[in-house]
Subunit: 191 residues, 2 copies
């Protein structure tokens, strides 16, 4: 792609990201996204065949950014895996405290499109959650946790539950409770 | 309400329930719901002022049915709270194994309408989750668990996470993992 076309492409993805996160995937319209990106619908369609493809592109970019962020956490020296998970739950609490926080896009797309398991955006969401879970397994194995696979899955469960219940109740106590539960499950496994 | 009007009211709520659960709250249209209930849009509007009110009515009925179901579990004699939670996680696994399962409606409405915290249907969802959590606290207190409030909240987190991750991955291993984690957290608290 020539540079200006790349810039347009990136601007559409950023606009779609904003509209999807604000209003949900179903309610965000291509007209609104085109307006937000300052392009015509015709230009939008030159870059993306459909709203579904655009949704998948947005989630793919979000997954890359999320993994970059997670890798920065991995790169830091932690005394114990408990300290690592404390840090990422604190990160979640900060994220969830932003005004108009609407939860995780990967979760949201799976739930909004619950009846469409084959949707391209759901495939991206599924792969993202798998990648995060696998990276937790590796971290816990390297820290010498005997049941790294089980503990990684429990942290995923607590993390996911914390996001949904924080959204439902607007109460960050759920994130603190999830972090505490993760810590106790790890400590009982020698962390 | 005269009997025939009550029946129409109930038929509209049942039809809306089906359409909401199948397609999500945003995509289900009042036209489709009226068709499904075999009533005109005019009749539908005689019973419900708006789609938002209808959503709230559907969730209120779902909450009552869900609490009735939970009370049947409460009424059974369990040797330990662990056995009780094993039973309700097995119930979740059976529910999630149904064809075209789309997760919990209370969670779905909170996520679909993440940007509308004041929506009447979100208020019903919030109250429902609070009622379930409070009923778990009472059960755990009666069983002599010292930190009943903390354990009840952890079970809510694991339950919520299990639903979302089962939906994302179509893998019931998440429900088993959640049940195991709940059991370990309870056992470390004297259950």
């Amino acid at each position: 792609m020539p540079r200006s076309s790349q810039q347009t492409h990136a601007r559409i993805v950023d606009a779609a990201h904003m509209m999807f996160w604000r209003n949900g995937f179903v309610r965000a319209s291509l007209d609104d996204i085109a307006d937000q990106a300052h392009v015509t619908k015709r230009t939008l369609y030159q870059h993306f065949r459909s709203k579904d493809d655009l949704m998948a592109a947005v989630l793919l970019q979000a997954s890359e950014l999320s993994m970059q962020r997670l890798r920065r956490y991995f790169a830091q020296p932690y005394e114990t895996p408990t300290a690592f998970f404390d840090a990422i739950f604190r990160d979640l609490a900060q994220w969830a405290a932003r005004p108009h926080w609407t939860g995780a896009g990967f979760t949201r797309v799976a739930i909004e499109l619950a009846d469409l398991p084959g949707h391209p955006a759901r495939a991206v969401a599924r792969r993202h959650k798998q990648t995060v879970e696998s990276s937790f397994v590796v971290l816990l194995e390297q820290a010498g946790i005997p049941s790294a696979t089980e503990r990684a899955r429990e942290i995923m469960l607590l993390w996911e539950g914390a996001m949904t219940l924080t959204l439902i109740h607007a109460d960050h106590g759920y994130i603190r409770a999830a972090a505490e539960a993760a810590k106790r499950l790890l400590e009982n496994d020698g962390a």
